[in-house]
């Protein structure tokens, strides 16, 4: 376990105060919150893939993946879709407000395994959020990797996250960026279709390609199928899982996924590890 290990392991159930620096609307119901730790430790360290439990006073706590740059340790960014009480309360918060944060928890994306190989990132919907720290890190150490592709699927052009950054990344010569949407109005010049259609073009050397996937489970299932079709080994496919979570430290039992606890064995898993249960209904 990396990051703020000392506080996380000694008082893992106590949220630490964070001050909100910025609340930014991303798309219709998705927004990002930047915060800064207030305690003695003013930096927040994490590894891409990890998540936090975020508390709103008097409302409750939810697990949120971290979506900011791991190198910028003075701010912590979460990108959130407002769907429940806590996320709706978060959406209403303003600069200067305080929230509580427990974490970081969970396993990182496989950077060591990716080094020296091509990397294909496949994101669906808000699934791009937990993968954005990966992109920052890959770009910061660009020379360590082969070809890097970012494939992104969303519902419609308005729901594409991080539009400006996507454009910036698209402009780089050392990055292949491709996005698609389920449907679009006239005027959209990009792709319409499913994200799996973008995969064949992004893979040139399947034996030396590592894939990282995040999105709704059903989208990840189709993506795994397509990656397999393109010749990528199960052990080179990684994905991140989501389940109800109350404690994030292996006590509450809610996030069990077969033999795995998403909170401490995951959320990032190799497909090889979970393939017997992945996609099984109601596991």
């Amino acid at each position: 376990m990396q990051g703020n290990a000392s506080t996380a392991t000694t008082q893992p159930m106590i949220p630490l105060p964070h001050r909100i620096l910025k609340v930014r609307r991303e798309t219709g119901d998705v927004f990002s919150i930047e915060t800064q730790p207030e305690g003695d430790e003013s930096d927040f360290h994490f590894v891409p893939g990890q998540f936090n439990m975020v508390y709103v006073f008097g409302v409750g706590e939810v697990p949120l993946s971290i979506s900011g740059d791991p190198a910028r340790t003075h701010t912590l960014t979460h990108t959130i879709r407002s769907v429940g009480w806590v996320t709706q309360a978060l959406k209403k918060m303003k600069k200067g407000d305080r929230i509580g944060v427990r974490g970081p928890f969970g396993t990182p994306w496989p950077f060591q395994e990716a080094a020296g190989n091509d990397v294909v990132i496949v994101a669906g919907g808000v699934g791009l959020a937990p993968l954005r720290p990966v992109i920052y890190k890959l770009l910061a150490e660009r020379e360590q990797y082969g070809n890097i592709s970012i494939l992104y699927g969303a519902r419609n052009p308005d729901d594409l996250l991080y539009g400006k950054e996507l454009e910036k990344w698209r402009g780089r010569f050392d990055l292949h960026v491709d996005a698609t949407v389920d449907s679009a109005k006239r005027g959209w010049m990009g792709n319409v279709g499913v994200v799996t259609q973008l995969i064949p073009k992004a893979i040139s050397d399947p034996d030396n390609t590592l894939a990282m996937i995040c999105g709704p489970e059903i989208m990840m299932r189709f993506t795994v199928n397509e990656l397999q079709k393109q010749g990528i080994e199960n052990s080179n496919i990684y994905l991140t899982m989501e389940r109800n979570m109350k404690c994030a430290i292996g006590f509450c039992g809610h996030c069990q996924f077969g033999p795995e606890f998403i909170c401490k064995d995951g959320p990032v898993f190799s497909y090889e590890r979970v393939r017997n249960i992945f996609g099984k209904r109601e596991i």
Binding site: D29, R81, V83, G124, G125, V126, G153, A154, R155, D159, T180, D182, S183, A184, K185, R186, W188, M189, G190, N191, V192, G193, V194, T196, Q197, G215, P216, E217, I218, M219, F222, E242
Partner: protein
């Protein structure tokens, strides 16, 4: 003018097709070019050909009743679209317009239909290939229908 045969032979859609058929296909094929924004065909038009896209991007559009048209699929280089020429009443089910400059090979469906009737082996080969395109398109449509990125996880 350069023969279209090498282009057809290289296209993934015709992979492993018996060489004898290419001459026949070339006879039905023509080079086409559409400027960005140009309409390839409208819904309800006579569907008398299909396209192998060589360059650019084509948008397939449908108009929901009383709503502005929606792009439901895009087709890029290397792909094939259009199978309405195979099924009566041979009419297009959607609009297609070029999003960028599009270069494609258009293959005359009327001509090919006749040849398929004469040579069922060719017909079977083509139907197999189109069937896999249709299946894939149907599968994608189903996934889009699921609205996987909606609020439901």
């Amino acid at each position: 003018m350069k023969s279209l045969q090498p282009i057809l032979e290289e296209h993934p859609f015709f992979k492993e097709l018996e060489p004898k058929y290419f001459e026949l296909l070339v006879g039905c094929a023509s080079n086409v070019r559409f400027e960005a924004g140009e309409i390839l065909f409208h819904e309800g038009d006579q569907a008398d050909r299909f396209f192998l896209v060589r360059q650019g991007k084509v948008a397939l559009e449908m108009a929901p009743p009383n709503k502005e048209p929606m792009i439901i699929d895009t087709v890029e280089e290397g792909l094939v679209f259009g199978w309405s020429w195979m099924v009566p009443p041979y009419q297009w089910h959607f609009d297609a317009h070029a999003l960028t400059l599009v270069r494609a090979i258009a293959i005359d469906g009327k001509c090919l239909r006749k040849k398929c009737e004469e040579d069922h082996e060719l017909g079977y080969e083509l139907f197999k290939r189109f069937f896999s395109v249709v299946t894939e398109r149907l599968q994608h449509t189903r996934v889009q229908l699921l609205d996987v990125y909606g609020a439901q996880v």
